[in-house]
Subunit: 235 residues, 2 copies
């Protein structure tokens, strides 16, 4: 019955309703991660949850709301687990490193969520046929990145570049990293993240002063190369 979001002021959600919503969302995530968005029908999700199809309609306004709630839940969780660790890091290059590795580490423990989120982003469309998510959804991701880049540029830590382009490129590298790993479970995500960190640190840092030594990282804190690379089936 309850279907709209509950801005805290509404009637409390009953215990059963809370549990059911969580259960359904879990089943939906697993189903989508397993068979893809296109095949994740309400019937299939319900079957996986061991309930009747109507229950979903009862607890959610529709498939759309169910998907939106999943996205919110996953995003919230990511934010709590990743963004938190960035406080206290003053160097922007270090921030890039920390963010990259942390988000990778988080995803390693949440493959289903990652896959489901990707599927929803790519496939969910409203009644009008327009996608719910897309490039524009990344705006909240770009903003903080741009802020950090700009700060680094002002402090002289970073060279001059277009912060928006850099934010887009960096975010896309992360997305591609996850995409590749999602497709290729053996892939060493951690090593990949290290490489991406290096890549972008070099891309953003200020030119090395002519004679002063650059602050590059010594090779000792570099990780091992991806021990398990992929080379796709085709070719």
């Amino acid at each position: 019955m309850r279907s709209e979001n509950q801005p805290v002021s509404q009637k409390e959600r009953s215990f059963i309703e809370t549990a059911r919503r969580a259960q359904i969302m879990d089943a939906a995530v697993e189903t989508i991660a397993e068979v893809g968005f296109a095949r994740a029908s309400l019937a299939r999700i319900a079957r996986r949850a061991g309930i009747s199809k109507g229950v979903i309609s009862y607890h959610f306004a529709g498939k759309e709301e169910l998907m939106e709630q999943i996205v919110i839940a996953v995003y919230t969780d990511i934010g709590e687990n990743v963004a938190g660790g960035l406080h206290g890091v003053e160097s922007v290059t270090e921030m890039v490193r920390v963010n990259t590795t942390r988000v990778a580490e988080y995803m390693r423990g949440h493959r289903s969520s990652l896959r489901a989120l990707g599927e929803i982003f790519l496939n969910l469309r409203g009644a009008d046929g327009e996608p719910h998510y897309g490039m524009h959804t990344n705006e909240p991701l770009y903003q903080p990145l741009e802020d950090a880049f700009r700060r680094g540029q002002e402090s002289g830590e970073l060279r001059d570049f277009d912060t928006r382009v850099m934010a887009i490129s960096y975010q896309s590298a992360l997305d591609a990293m996850f995409g590749y790993w999602a497709l290729n479970p053996e892939w060493d995500l951690t090593a990949h993240a290290e490489q991406v960190s290096d890549l972008f640190v070099r891309a953003i840092r200020a030119e090395a002063p002519r004679d002063a030594p650059t602050p590059h990282r010594s090779s000792r804190d570099r990780h091992d190369p991806p021990p398990d690379p992929a080379e796709g089936g085709t070719a």
Copy 2:
């Protein structure tokens, strides 16, 4: 009637059939670019082309073949227009610049094709529900990139890095560039391409003559990973 590909040896394709196939493919591209894959039904495509739905079934084995043919046609065109200009460029960093700007320039003149291709990649699935295209489809793109990177590493022009990760990241930056531009027509694609070029040139070039060059390691010469037939085109 003719539906399979024509390996040149088969009966000639009639004038009408050739024209119709082209017309239908054009209409499909326009329709997909305009309303997205999900809403680009055969009926809608036919309506746009001003023909009956059955004509599509008559000239193509099914929606799947139609989409595949579109992808082939667009890819072929891109290959002819972009890849060609890379001969004679010896420096790998220069190659990155040229490739980036050329492909951007090409896309500026083919927005519909770009959008349609993206939609097809993301959405086309076979009867079994598995995506036809996805990250693994990028393999033909990664290979030449990796080759170039490796060459640059061997010549000392480029620093040591994982060529596969770099190829993935670079390609994703291009994809994101087009995605952003597709969403945001006012965006200065050319300037964006310049920035991406700078970004990756800095990321790949050898260190200033600081340390002795390190041995490279690329994922290429390691074992073979499963292309993970699983599913889901997260991308």
